[in-house]
């Protein structure tokens, strides 16, 4: 009973694995570009949970937490660029369905 209530490293790793799996499913199954971006954010946050949990329980150093802050900044920058590109795509095709981008193929 005690080891269930006491939250340790494994709980965080399972949470991160669930987040990663959910994100991977979202990225591969969604055809809406915004949906794919949400999946990407889930996977990035899975990585963040991993980094912080390993940093706290494993090394005891701050480098994992610093990396997590870098990841947050990268995710924000990526979302800004991606949304601008999606908006431009929407202006041209009136949709953000990635399967509608079918002019380039072969």
């Amino acid at each position: 009973m005690n080891h269930v209530l006491h939250i340790g490293l494994n709980h965080y790793l399972v949470l991160a694995a669930i987040l990663f799996a959910a994100g991977l499913c979202t990225m591969t199954l969604k055809r809406n570009a915004i949906g794919i971006l949400i999946g990407v954010e889930l996977v990035l946050n899975a990585a963040n949970v991993n980094l912080i949990a390993f940093s706290h329980y494993g090394t005891g150093l701050i480098d994992g937490q610093v990396t997590a802050i870098f990841v947050i900044v990268l995710a924000a920058a990526e979302a800004a660029v991606a949304l601008a590109i999606f908006l431009n795509f929407y202006n041209r095709l009136a949709t953000v369905d990635v399967d509608r981008g079918d002019r380039l193929r072969g």
Binding site: A47, T67, F70, E78, V81, R92, G101
Partner: protein, 503 residues
């Protein structure tokens, strides 16, 4: 050294000096962004390109000075390293940025309604930012810097792919690029978090030391390394992470495609070389996992080269054909990465690194030349398809003859420099292989034979097909530029021997 008001410690001056090239191009980016405030609209586009070319050339010279001085300088608490590999590739990448700016002046700046001309300062800021990211990629010895470098190179590249905002193809290319890039970056970061958990550090050298002392790689770390490979494989468009490459090259403008085909791949390949050599070539590394790593890279190289060449056979759009050709060439260079150094030998002077450096140097000039001709023909005919090249030998011999030289060099036939690059690579694969991967030579030769067909298709169209279309007017500047690119593509063969000693 401290900032007066904030009391923030600055990195040591020696560290800053080792990264002077990056600082110079970053300052150039700021200058380019501020330039429009002081200039009239009509003059600013050309001046922007000129400032970019000068800044990039200065950075290349600074990196070259470090290369000549030699030695290895770990900087910023072991996040980055300035050694001979990173210095040489920074000369290559920043020098290439200068050449791209000149190419843009000759090709793109003549086009009306080209978004890169209308918004030239913004375009060049993105171009420079991506190049700084690539400079970081080749210098990073810490997984955090690997991630930051890849992202810094990728984010401006997404925007550049969609820079022709008014065109549907540009919008589509940027969409595919950013979706694919974001997914692989996320997987890479999850992989990095797993590696951090297993080894308790993000330092590549310390991870390599842990792997060597354990003598084996646990499954979780293998998953982490595969995630990392997804991120790096995306940058070098290795199969199966190559899907974005032909679409982006076709949808983006020729100058952007040229930039991505050389700089992005060179940075990614050098980064992969560093990572693979750190783990697989560690002094005293247990042979069995070094062998698995070499075999994995060899299989990746085989798939990449073969699929790139086979898909290129079916292409009628020259930009798309050159995209598949660049995938194939990434495959050849991956073969060089598979040549792990023997025990205790560092990156400098190892046969694989020598072959990689020579190949990238030659590839830079022949690809830049071929794409320049495609851009010049596009400017005159409005088409990038192979039909536009019909009868070019008679219509514009000053473009057709150098183009034939570039294509023969891309095949790797003598007497072009491409032959030196390929010969050096296959020779290294055959002779120095401590872990036998000699079958890669056969793969490489068969692939070279396949590539002969699609490159020669263009040559045949230029010289054997006839057309009623009149001659294409070529300015002296454009002809001079193309011929200037043809000089190293033929001349590098003469200095082949010294070039292999260079590294």
């Amino acid at each position: 050294m401290k900032l007066l008001a904030l009391n923030v410690p600055l990195p040591p001056a020696a560290d800053m000096a080792a990264f002077a090239p990056e600082l110079i191009v970053t300052a150039t980016a700021v200058a380019v962004l501020l330039l429009p405030f002081f200039l009239t609209r009509s003059r600013r586009d050309r001046l922007t390109a000129a400032v970019t070319a000068l800044g990039a050339a200065a950075a290349a010279v600074a990196a070259g000075a470090f290369f000549v001085r030699g030695g290895s300088h770990p900087a910023f608490s072991g996040l980055l390293v300035a050694d001979r590999l990173s210095s040489f590739l920074r000369v290559l990448i920043f020098g290439f940025l200068a050449l791209i700016a000149v190419m843009w002046l000759i090709t793109a700046s003549r086009r009306r309604n080209d978004a890169t001309v209308i918004d030239a300062p913004e375009f060049f800021t993105l171009l420079i930012a991506a190049t700084v990211g690539m400079g970081m990629m080749v210098s990073s010895v810490n997984l955090l810097m690997v991630v930051v470098g890849i992202e810094l190179a990728s984010l401006p590249s997404y925007a550049m792919a969609g820079f022709q905002k008014q065109q549907r193809l540009g919008a589509e290319a940027a969409m595919k690029y950013v979706v694919f890039g974001a997914v692989t970056a996320a997987v890479m970061l999850y992989g990095v978090s797993l590696l951090y958990g297993v080894y308790g550090t993000l330092s590549v050298d310390r991870i390599a030391a842990s792997v060597a002392s354990a003598g084996t790689i646990p499954p979780v770390a293998v998953i982490g390394m595969l995630g990392l490979l997804a991120g790096v494989g995306f940058k070098i468009s290795a199969v199966p992470f190559h899907f974005w490459c032909p679409d982006v090259f076709e949808g983006a403008s020729v100058e952007v495609a040229t930039f991505l085909s050389v700089a992005s791949k060179a940075a990614g390949l050098a980064l992969l070389l560093r990572l693979v050599y750190a783990v697989g070539g560690f002094a005293g590394a247990a042979p069995h996992y070094a062998g698995s790593i070499a075999l994995a890279v060899g299989i990746l190289a085989t798939l990449t080269a073969t699929l790139g060449n086979l898909a290129a056979l079916a292409q009628d759009n020259l930009k798309r054909m050159l995209a598949y050709s660049s995938i194939a060439h990434a495959g050849y260079v991956l073969m060089a990465v598979a040549i792990l150094p023997t025990d205790g030998q560092g990156i400098s002077g190892s046969p694989g690194a020598q072959a990689l450096v020579l190949y990238l140097l030659v590839y830079l000039f022949m690809n830049l030349g071929a794409f320049s001709v495609v851009a010049l023909v596009y400017n005159r005919t409005g088409s990038e398809r192979i039909e536009a090249f019909a009868g070019l030998g008679r219509r514009a011999p000053l473009l057709a003859i150098p183009m034939a030289l570039f294509l023969v060099s891309l095949v790797g036939l003598p007497p072009m420099a491409g032959f030196a690059a390929k010969f050096q690579l296959f020779y290294a694969l055959f002779v120095y292989q401590p872990i036998s991967l000699r079958w890669l030579v056969v793969v490489g030769l068969v692939n070279t034979l396949i590539s002969l067909f699609y490159y020669m298709r263009v040559v045949r169209a230029m010289f054997l097909q006839t057309t009623d279309d009149g001659p294409i007017e070529v300015s002296a500047l454009a002809a001079g530029w193309v011929i200037a690119m043809a000089v190293p593509v033929t001349g590098l063969l003469v200095v082949w021997q010294p070039l292999t000693k260079l590294f």
